[in-house]
Symmetry: D3
Subunit: 275 residues, 6 copies
């Protein structure tokens, strides 16, 4: 993000600001807003320049109503980001999403950009290139709650006119570290660019896109992201030799490479685990 651009928003809300992706975005979003309100239930440290720190739990309806007051748009990175017990997923990703959008509806927030996940469609096989209009096929209870979030975003667009961009994030890490990520990696700079475009592109309605860099291998048709002006700059291929040297080759029926969701498709049910 170029600091010379005019700041588009008076106040932006960033949730999940203490998480991995939230931390990356916390550094870059100030370029777009006069004030960045950051929130998490984990500690966020001191407020930086032009920042407001507002701790909140997603399950707290009244707190979420306060949190979304006087903001122009939301970047929602909060929630449970991986397979977990249903009670926890449900608290953060179902009730939390509902509280967030209810807050936006009541407070007149115009747009929400949020972290959905490729695990909302993880049971498609790699041999099928999909775009963002195929029916969801979640691969975990986690993915199921992300599918719910997408349906909810569609509903608030159709009924209440709130705009939303659902980012089906692939594998967002400093660099790709296994063979699947050669296809699914999203670099941090590309994440920042994608969030920026999702905030700034005009008239998005509810748009679902894949959060993925310009990887040489890919099974996602990301035309919808192009329509937002997204032009990723990184390519996981640059890490192929390193990955192939450090990770074992797997057969074609290994979940890591058979399904788009990779190992998530083979994860045991979290509620079956002993405490």
């Amino acid at each position: 993000m170029s600091p010379s651009k005019p700041r588009r928003f008076r106040r932006l809300l960033l949730t999940g600001a203490a998480g991995a992706l939230g931390t990356v975005l916390r550094d870059h979003l100030p370029a777009l807003a006069d004030v960045l309100r950051v929130s998490d239930r984990a500690p966020l440290g001191e407020a930086r320049d032009r920042e407001e720190v507002v701790p909140c739990d997603l399950g707290d309806a009244a707190g979420m109503l306060d949190l979304t007051r006087d903001v122009d748009a939301v970047v929602h990175m909060g929630g449970v980001s991986g397979e977990n017990r249903f009670a926890d997923l449900h608290h953060a990703n179902i009730l939390g999403m509902y509280h967030l959008f209810e807050g936006c509806r009541k407070n007149g927030v115009a747009r929400v950009v949020w972290a959905s996940s490729n695990h909302a469609i993880g049971f498609y096989p790699r041999t099928r290139t999909i775009d963002a209009t195929v029916p969801q096929r979640p691969d975990t209870a986690y993915g199921l709650t992300k599918a719910f979030g997408e349906d909810l975003a569609q509903y608030y667009q159709d009924k209440y006119g709130i705009e939303a961009v659902s980012l089906r994030i692939g594998s967002c890490f400093p660099k790709p570290v296994d063979r699947r990520m050669l296809a699914t990696w999203l670099s941090y700079p590309d994440l920042v660019h994608l969030v920026e475009r999702s905030l700034l592109a005009p008239a998005v309605g509810h748009t679902v896109v894949f959060g993925v860099s310009a990887n040489q291998e890919s099974f996602w048709d990301n035309r919808a992201a192009s329509a937002l002006g997204f032009r990723p700059g990184d390519n996981a291929e640059d890490y192929r030799a390193e990955i192939e040297a450090s990770t074992p080759l797997v057969g074609p029926d290994d979940p890591l490479v058979r399904y788009q969701g990779g190992q998530f498709t083979a994860m045991p049910h979290a509620d079956d685990e002993p405490d």
Copy 2:
């Protein structure tokens, strides 16, 4: 259902048996099973011949685990069936669906036939004929929870092999009573026939169908129901003169006829209502 057919199931579970549709099915499902287990949180009266009455609240995880024990298949008509406060919808249609499928997973139940709703796709305009593969567009919080149920059924099929048929029921009443139902009506005999076919058709995976009679007007391409062997026998057209004489004509932008979900698309948010 012909009584001369062999009973296919040892024990069938019918939830929501005290509701309108459950009451209709309670009369007919005994033809298919040696024992019909009926459940509801509302009173069900005395157990009939070859019936077991097992009251249960959908929000009760342990109770739902017991309820689904030793059954071959489930006809799930339970849940909140209309727009309502989110807390109530969430209790019955989100947690309840999760408890039901968890019970089926743990107890090895082979198939679930359940009442989804056209309100999971209600924001499509009438001018577009849709089939069951388009993305969901719920028209109410109610429809949103039904969309969740469909996603969940897909997940349990892909991950755990439980078969399911999601019935997007149109307007299931003794007869059509408004102009929209000329297109969306599902007669009671056709409901019974559709549930029977959904239980008996082989290898359904997770199939989504529209629950609608052979109405002359229709904006749903119900090919997936044909693949189950569904051949509806009733036609709302027989009631046109009666309906047109008794109901006012509405303009093309009236939600009743503009969107597939009809008036639900214009319902106020239930949580905004005073207690």
Copy 3:
């Protein structure tokens, strides 16, 4: 049309009322309206009961503005109905359509049902089954002006909210008389039924349908007409033996059977003909 139905319209306008299809409809439309205004540039005889006779030429902008005043809906059968010199087609089918819709716009007419033609898509081969969403492929200057009419109807719907049903009429005759009509025939009773449904179906936006009976042979997917409640009752197959006995067999490359538009695809240019 059942005379016992309530009359839906206060005043209906029927153009082209002296033509073949207009004559059929003139007998049946009174069941739907308190007053039927009939128009043509050819003589129409005396006004019948509950009829107004208003002669008008489609090329007369001021006359068309008057003609469309105080009517609820229009059944537009007027225009040149076959290949002809471009000047004549242009006068009636391009300027005439424009004058008609301008009149409707200025006078607040809610809906237009009009005779487009299969010749707007006549250059598709018979081996391809098409629905109403494929790009137009007119087979004559006549078909070209009908394609213009469909584009215009779409424009007035999108911009001004006027509803329209474009009827791509196949071969509307008392009975089929050549081998192509075994697939394209529209009987008079089915024409009347289709016009009625097009007038009465709710919220049609701009809908394009094929005007064709329930013929055993067919290369048109007429799902959009089903959505209006159209259920044709006639079948050209009943005339097969008669037609096959009286008409020669033609080879697969004969335009009569190669293209959907039949012989029109091979017609010489009308402007090349001597006067």
Copy 4:
């Protein structure tokens, strides 16, 4: 076939006339032709009235050239009709098809109607309704040779203009005898009707259709057959009670009901069998 219809062909060739389907057709095709030439490598008995008996092996190129001389059209039911050693399939269904179409090309035969098989697409799951444009997925070496035949028919149409109808026959028997046939059955009268329509419909190019009756259960979208004027009259549903009483229920992963090709998808490789 009505005997009062004019006979359309001077001479028709029927191959495989000693087989099950050939025997059925041998009784009915005389209504369409002045002379029916019947052929098989098995004995055919005495020539009937207006019949020519010409024995021939499909692997005999010169014989096939003679066989196709002076005929207007061919109904090709010959070949190996079931899984078998590749050498036998190859002889009859690959070389035989090539010899047949070469004979037609050299002798100017206008059209070939032939028995392809649903086993050319047998590996599609039942939960997917397919039409005739999806890529082939053969389920056996037998199905593979039928897929070859369809490709070959397309080639001779595109390159040499020979018309062809490839009939993907489902299960053609006097009555359905297992649970899969409730969806795939083709009755003998419907076979005769389909062959007749395939011979008589104008301008078919190369058309692929499913040979299946009007069964209540179905996973095939047979629109292309409708375009030929095919209106099947039988329905396997009439035999459901009988079949369900006499055959065991199978689970959803049993090949009989999981894939469209049924048990063929699980057949061992014929070349692995001892002699």
Copy 5:
């Protein structure tokens, strides 16, 4: 265009040569032809080297017949290029297109490359990425006449074999000047390149493409232009900071950014304006 390439045409006709786009092309087309015939009804100045100046009004049938004599191909930039009174649009864009193609038919001209407009499809929302095969949705009377031109070009291809490329030009200006043009801009060099490829690509039949540079934001799938060998070199993104600094932000329901046609979708009817 490289001057070292062989000149492909003996004589090219450029209409609308005095307009903005015509002026750009007048400078570059001489590289492709021995003689460039330029035409307009506005003054064109002196004939340049290897140029013929032939003034003509598009409404003049005889003049257009003369104009198209002895030319190999036409680049038709003439016509009314913006919303206007229907009489003017009709004169230039309906009658003019007809006269042009009639001239080409009678004079044996092989190909026409012409300026259609994105306003032929302007009523699609920005949230839908479209290609060139969706039904037209004109946003103005102007767009309606461009849709007519495309239908006419298809007709002359199917019936008379005249090749055509319809260029749905986005916003062709020296640089983008409003927020919509960040998605729709066509630079002058890309215009020249697209016209060149449209003239030189082999066997185009009738091809519809979008005239748009390689902008980062885009809602058009321009695969058909790639098939012509079009590789745009400019990107409106380079002007984003400048545009965002100089133009106001608009909300999602502003026609400028809601529909693909932008402000044209909200233009008043030109015939309603006082003279």
Copy 6:
């Protein structure tokens, strides 16, 4: 191929190693395998370092069984590569493919990458951009045998789990030499890259791709190759001026440019040629 990458295979088999493409690959495949087994029926010279030379005729079932023993994967460039007498095509491309896959099945070979051809779909017109899922339309007996090979590869994937990549090679030459190759050229470096990606990409099932460089002109949507990680580096456009200067312009109906298969679509039947 970078020599620093780990060798992925213990032993690779390359058939057709004496042919044009085989010769190119013989130089590069050693980077991927400890041992490269090269085969052809033509002389292959001395075995190079880490090479095994095993001559074999594709028609020799027993020889092919030996040839495929102890190999991890196959690059099958063998077979007749152009129009020829059916007996020769059949021997190499039908029986040969069968023998190859039978060998792989019996010997447990995991994957086959093989040279199919654009002539399997050559009868599609250039004006239609196709992807790899459209039905095959072979343009020659040669193309027909390649279509058979693709069907066979699909069958061995579905039934026996052998992975395969069918490369529909365009025009693989040192440089493009006619106007069609401006769209269909595959450079040698891009061939090597495509074969490498086809061998190394995980979980390919049976994937069909186009073997074509990044040419500016193109009528193939090669998304399936992108999913393998294919990023071609060459572009036939670099040779345009040279080709246009040295080859004649052809009209739009010339087979060279009308159909995707070019001149193959107009080749006479090889069996009609005198010996």
